[in-house]
Symmetry: C2
Subunit: 327 residues, 2 copies
């Protein structure tokens, strides 16, 4: 019987979910006073759960540095009076606002950031000082890509489908003392306390992605853990960023001090040429290089599992394309 | 690249999700005026979504015939004033109340039933007449086990993990005209209209279970469709129920006119003997025969994928056990 068929109440699956959690705690260095939850619904469901559980009609600070942090901010508006505490999309270059550019409210129930911005191509290069206000970090697209000091956050969450497991699993890591009583009107499945009490099995969890996460964590351990993953990811991204620095055709529209290691955004400055590049690359076996429709341009998503050889092949093709099209 | 890795926005996955839906429509005979949604969170999340979307502080009728319909009824109490319209757990025998035993409110926003009751071991043997009030059917544990006249229901839903696909997918089938405007306070992921608009891809869907569902539907087509599945399931269940009818040791505590084909509940009337049987059976490679802790006794769950040979082996062992232990 495979993990896809067995009961989630079986001894075998109980070992799997406990091992997955233990390995995640070990690989990420999650302190004992944090709960680890395996949930469903993606980060988008967390966008609602977080204000329903932790804002409860009050206020919270959202830093809007990308499409997803903006969606989180908009969703929170259903459940109270969140404020935009900073923005990284209001210049020509996508960027992460500096500490002194943030407008933080000391009475906020929490501050919410999205560490890596898949569409903008930026990543927080520092942890904002919130002066004691609990900090929540959406790490959907950078979790397990490098070490993280979990103790800086009241909560970390991530959709699993980038660096953890197949789509259908969402991981939430919440500090014990941040959990609070929730009104009875919150749906059972959206109440973190109930998920904590049920040890992620209030109902049937997404067993298969949890099993794959366990295996992915074993793979990361074999690579040497998150320090080693960081080195690999920096090497991979450098192949692209180094080429972009010297290219006369391609450039990036990202503030390089907060560049993403996972999503490298670039363009030729000419939408038609960008489209021609994406098409030719796809014909050569490199699909999915078109930037998100909301920003255009081109984007290489190079998550943990993507090999450096793939990035090298891409840059080789970019050089060829540049030779043909450079003015 | 496998389905577990590819983008849900890729052409390949677009074909998969459309094929899965088309096959489900074909196999179940879902009329064109019904939407098919692939969601997350299990039936438990539907227990909240249904009253949030369709009751909205009003009232609805819940028939409580098992643990899950009771949970659905309790969850609905967060969002309005639902009423218990019938009960199948208030006698020694688990049963499905007859039409004249139901107390239906003509002003209810809907009537909710759970067709197959996994823990009680019962199944609705008729479709209640709701006098025009929309009928919602939780088919989590019997969907695809036999033909269903979808047009009798305003909505059908099912967690996929019994007869459809690995855990992590929930299917909802909703008649167009039953969908209604939802207040802004409903979380985005819990709003059926948004899921309809996003064609089940408002965010990343559970791609792998959707792929497996497509494959399972192909398997059912190969077997001859739902009429053939019904015949197979009746044959399988008959092996057990026929034996139970003649056994002097084992009996079922289920009203046989509404017996489940998926979950056959039985017991010896002696909790210690039940436990001994479950243990000996597990030692013989037949685990998971212990009844749910809330009702005790024994239970054989024989979903679509379970072979008749397994039921025959179980009955053979029950005969041996009876020979040893019959008074």
């Amino acid at each position: 019987m495979s993990v896809m068929e067995m009961s989630h109440r079986s001894k075998v699956f109980d070992d799997i979910i406990k091992t997955a959690e233990a390995k995640l705690r070990s690989v990420m260095g999650i302190p004992e006073n944090y709960k680890v939850l395996f949930l469903q619904g993606g980060a988008t469901q967390q966008f609602a759960m977080i204000p329903m559980n932790f804002m409860q009609g009050g206020t919270a600070d959202y830093v809007v540095t990308g499409t997803w942090s903006k969606k989180a901010y908009q969703e929170a508006q259903k459940f109270g009076e969140p404020k935009e505490a900073g923005n990284g999309l209001d210049r020509d270059e996508a960027y992460i606002p500096r500490q002194d550019e943030l407008t933080l409210n000391p009475d906020a129930d929490y501050v919410h950031i999205c560490e890596n911005n898949t569409i903008a191509g930026t990543k927080w290069d520092y942890t904002p000082d919130t002066n004691g206000v609990p900090l929540i970090n959406d790490m959907s697209s950078c979790i397990l890509s490098e070490p993280v000091d979990v103790s800086k956050y009241a909560m970390i969450y991530a959709g699993a489908q980038k660096n953890m497991a197949p789509a259908g699993l969402t991981v939430a890591i919440i500090r014990d003392d941040f959990l609070k009583e929730v009104p009875a009107s919150v749906p059972t499945m959206l109440n973190y306390n109930i998920q904590v009490k049920g040890e992620s099995m209030h109902n049937t969890p997404p067993c298969w992605p949890i099993y794959v996460l366990m295996e992915v964590l074993t793979w990361i351990e074999g690579k040497g853990g998150l320090e080693a993953m960081k080195k690999l990811n920096e090497e991979k991204a450098a192949v692209l960023y180094d080429y972009l620095a010297e290219s006369t055709l391609f450039k990036t529209q990202v503030d390089l001090k907060s560049k993403s290691l996972m999503n490298v955004c670039f363009n030729t400055g000419d939408a038609e040429l960008d489209a021609a590049f994406a098409k030719e690359a796809a014909d050569k076996g490199m699909p999915n290089l078109k930037g998100h429709r909301s920003v255009g341009g081109l984007r290489a998503s190079i998550y943990n599992a993507f090999p450096i050889e793939g990035v090298e092949a891409l840059v080789e093709f970019m050089r060829e394309f540049e030779a043909k099209h450079a003015k």
